[in-house]
Every structure is written in structure tokens, then in C-alpha cells.
């Protein structure tokens, strides 16, 4: 059975700041990072933090990833990542590039067309 409603959201997240620190070495670390910032922001309600989150892709070269979250968790995830300022003591920043319920829409971004 599907764990998500049909309206699932798939934000695409870029994390350039972390490259100045040690960097997130793997998709696994990114997943742990995302879980920890959700936990932190939901305060004492640990049960809230248990939102099913998938790291669909993670590219070390560009330090960008595609995350998948159910629609009810989108705002929480997006705000948690935006407010995250440091990881393992080093400063970092997340930048959300694209958000869409359609994964196919994330495979191309017309705002990234560079001609000059």
C-alpha cells in the first residue's frame, strides 16, 4: 500500500554551504541531518518528527539532493531545512531550488537555462 497521499511533494534541495565545512559525505548523512533538524524544530513532540522522508538522489559533486516527503510534511521539512544554520558545529545553509508534486518536473529547471 502506498504510504503517501496522491498529493505528495518532492522538494529539490541544494546545500552549498556545507561544502565549506566537511561536507555531507553521503546520502545517509543527509538523511540523518534532515531527521535531526525536523526533530529539533518539532520541539518535544518527537512523534511529529517521524515523517517518512526519502532521499531519492544525492550528488556529491553539486551537493544537491532530491527529497521526497508526504504533502502534510512539506511545510515542516521546508521550514526546518531553511532554518538549519549549522551541522556538526560547522556553518551551513540549505537552499530549496524546486518543489513539485511531480518528480518528472524536477529533472529539468527552466530557470537554470543560461545563455549569457
Amino acid at each position: 500500500t502506498s504510504r503517501f497521499r496522491r498529493a505528495k511533494q518532492e522538494p529539490n534541495v541544494n546545500i552549498p554551504g556545507v561544502s565549506r565545512a566537511q561536507g555531507v559525505a553521503s546520502a545517509g548523512e543527509l538523511r540523518a541531518l534532515a531527521e535531526s533538524c525536523k526533530e529539533r524544530d518539532s520541539g518535544r513532540r518527537q512523534v511529529d518528527a517521524a515523517l517518512p522522508l526519502d532521499i531519492l538522489t544525492y550528488e556529491e559533486k553539486t551537493l544537491s539532493a532530491i527529497l521526497r516527503i508526504c504533502s502534510s510534511g512539506l511545510v515542516k521539512l521546508w521550514s526546518s531545512l531553511t532554518l538549519l544554520g549549522s551541522y556538526k558545529g560547522k556553518k551551513c545553509a540549505f537552499r530549496v531550488i524546486q518543489v513539485s508534486p511531480f518528480l518528472l518536473a524536477l529533472s529539468g529547471n527552466s530557470r537554470e537555462l543560461v545563455l549569457d
Binding site: R3, R6, A7, Q9, A27, G28, R31, P52, D54, I55, L56, T57, I66, R68, S71, S72, L74, V75, Q98, V99, S100, P101, F102, L103, L104, A105, L106, S107, G108, N109, S110, R111, L113, L115, D116
Partner: protein
């Protein structure tokens, strides 16, 4: 409390799936391809294919050119000469480059001669032109849409209407934009655009083509008659669309349900194909070229092939002021408007059209 609830809401989106057959008289595939004007990314996937046929390869390499011109004054698009040379003789497309539809002034030219301006409140008032508020305005109207029919204007260049538009663009509020241009026409005048706008430093560009093959690819099993899938026998259209997105994003398709990183996996039932051909074309691509690609992909099954189906996906420019026809398009959270064909070996097809929150239902 209402504000908090509204902030937590996720904007709605729409996915329309329909099925038909290319042989049907009433099939709408041509109309839907031709009225989706500003296309950024076209990609197709052919299972059980390692080499592209010569015809397909040629079509892929000939999807361009398109043109890029910086600081083009808007009044150049309403001159008698421009309308007669390009708008009336073929299909002329234009879209402002690097303008965000939700923030900046944006202009688009449609092949039917309609010039669509999406302007912020101040600019709209300064142009002095007649328009209407954006459909997706909230309580405060931030954007106005002005639609100018160039075909209608060109019928009588001495009309008050033409004088007003001309005065607005030349004197009242001269606007300049960087434009993406394309012109589809029959005839051998290849570099007409280049010579016409040579004084503005127009550049010709070719779309970028990326070709690759995937090996041992898990593909969903589909049945052309079962758009919603059949439990245990075939996957549904939305599942197919997700899977296609995963393939083109290079996501892992075979994660275990208890995998810590990702639980996404190929929808079941699925088969593994030895190889699949993937092609992605990005640029400013005209619908006429997409139609040719679609027709060629239909002809893929003229000879017996192992593949049960092929897909063709098209993504529109997120910052175009229109999605299909003259339906207003807004960005909201993603600005997506895309469609996907699944072409079956019996000439049946599925067509999925997807739009975001600030869009009308696809036609």
C-alpha cells in the same frame, strides 16, 4: 489560526490522464502538442533499444535553432514589418529570458499573433494599456495581464488602437527585454531572424542534446487499456509518471522498504530490460518539432520491436505566462506544466498533463 492553517496548506496540483488511439479521428494529441507553446525540455525513453535510428537521430539534432537577443525594445514586436515577415508567415514564438513570472514583467508572443504581457502593478499603470488583473491575484492585485492581438492590429495600422499601443511602447513606457525567439516556417529563409535583428546582436543557439543508455533498467508493466492499472497485472498512469521522473533524475529504483535513505522503488509489476535509450533536449523548442518527434516515435512500432511502449515527455518554461492555449499560468511553488505521452505498440496512447496550483485545468 486561519493564517497558520493556510501557511501549512500545500498548494493543489492537477494531473489529468487520458487514453486514446492515434488512429482515432477525434484524438486530441495534435491539438494538445500544438497549443503548448513554450517548451523547455523534451525527453523520450525507449526500452530495449541501444542505438537510435537515423530518422530519430536526425530529428533530435534538428529541433533548433532558436535565437537569443538582449535588450530588445518591445515596440519592435509590433512593427508592421515584423508582423508581416514573421507572425503572418509561419509560427513565431517569443518569451522573455530570465524573468520570473511571479516577480518580474514577462512578455510572450504566441504563434496566433497574441502578444501577452504579464506586468506588475506599477508598470501596468505606466503603460496606460487596457488589461485585466491576473487570475491568481490574492486580496491584493499584484499582476496584470495585457493581451494584444497583432493580427487584428495589422489589419488597420492607422487605427486608434494601434496608435495607442505604439505610443505606449515607444514613448509612454518603453520596455526592453532579453528575448528567446523561435520561428517555424516552410521555406528556405533560414537566417531571416538573424538578419532582421542583427542590429540588436541576435545570437543563434542550438538546443542541448543529452543521449544515454541505461542498462538493466526496471520498467513498470503497463496495459494500454488500464489507465488506472490492474492490481498485480499492470501499473497505473500516475505510477508510470513518477517512475519516469525517477529514471530521468537518476534515482535508485530498487530500494528495500526498510532502507534508511530511500524507500522508493519501481512500481510493481515490473520487468527488467537489458538496455533503454534516453534522450533529453533542452532549449526553446517549438511544438512543430515536438509533433514530428511524436510522429516518428509512433512509427517506431512499424517494425516489430521488443519494447511494449515508449514515452515522450515535454516540460514547459516555468516562467511562461501561458500553459496551454491562452490559459494563464502562474508559478506559485513550482511553475510546472508538463505533459507525457506513453505510446504503445498498438498505436494506443496515454497522455498525462500536469499543472501546478496557479493553473487552469489542462484542456
Amino acid at each position: 489560526m486561519a493564517t497558520l492553517r493556510r501557511l501549512r496548506e500545500v498548494p493543489r496540483h492537477l494531473l489529468v490522464c487520458e487514453k486514446s488511439n492515434f488512429g482515432h479521428d477525434k484524438s486530441r494529441h495534435r491539438h494538445l502538442v500544438e497549443t503548448h507553446y513554450h517548451n523547455y525540455r523534451v525527453s523520450f525513453l525507449i526500452p530495449e533499444c541501444g542505438i537510435l535510428s537515423k530518422e530519430l537521430k536526425n530529428l533530435v539534432m534538428e529541433t533548433g535553432p532558436y535565437y537569443f537577443v538582449k535588450n530588445l525594445p518591445l515596440h519592435e514586436l509590433i512593427t508592421h514589418e515584423f508582423i508581416n515577415t514573421f507572425v503572418k508567415k509561419g509560427s513565431c514564438y517569443a518569451l522573455t529570458y530570465h524573468t520570473n513570472i511571479d516577480e518580474d514583467n514577462t512578455v510572450a508572443l504566441l504563434p496566433n499573433g497574441k502578444l501577452i504581457l504579464s506586468l506588475d502593478k506599477d508598470t501596468y499603470e505606466e503603460t496606460g494599456l487596457q488589461g485585466r488583473p491576473s487570475q491568481y491575484s490574492g486580496r491584493k492585485i499584484m499582476k496584470f495581464i495585457v493581451s494584444i492581438d497583432l493580427m487584428d492590429l495589422s489589419l488597420n495600422l492607422d487605427s486608434k488602437k494601434y496608435e495607442r499601443v505604439s505610443w505606449s511602447f515607444k514613448e509612454k513606457k518603453p520596455l526592453k527585454f532579453d528575448f528567446l525567439l523561435a520561428w517555424h516556417h516552410t521555406g528556405a529563409e533560414e537566417s531571416r531572424m538573424m538578419s532582421y535583428f542583427s542590429s540588436y546582436g541576435i545570437q543563434e543557439r542550438q538546443p542541448r542534446v543529452a543521449l544515454s543508455t541505461a542498462s538493466e533498467l526496471q520498467c513498470p508493466v503497463l496495459r494500454s487499456g488500464e489507465l488506472g492499472g490492474a492490481p498485480g497485472a499492470a501499473c497505473s498512469a500516475p505510477e508510470l509518471l513518477d517512475w519516469l521522473g525517477a529514471v530521468f533524475s537518476n534515482a535508485q529504483l530498487n530500494n528495500e522498504p526498510n532502507n534508511f535513505v530511500s524507500t522508493y522503488c519501481c512500481p510493481q509489476p515490473s520487468t527488467v530490460v537489458a538496455k533503454a535509450y534516453l534522450c533529453t533536449i533542452t532549449g526553446f523548442i517549438v511544438p512543430e518539432k515536438i509533433r514530428l518527434l511524436l510522429e516518428q516515435l509512433c512509427r517506431y512500432f512499424d517494425e516489430p520491436k521488443l519494447a511494449p511502449w515508449v514515452t515522450l515527455s515535454v516540460q514547459g518554461f516555468a516562467d511562461s505566462p501561458v500553459s496551454w492555449r491562452e490559459n494563464e499560468h502562474g508559478f506559485r511553488k513550482g511553475g510546472e506544466h508538463l505533459y507525457n505521452f506513453v505510446i504503445f505498440n498498438n498505436q494506443d496512447y496515454w497522455l498525462q498533463m500536469a499543472v501546478g496550483a496557479n493553473d487552469d485545468c489542462p484542456p
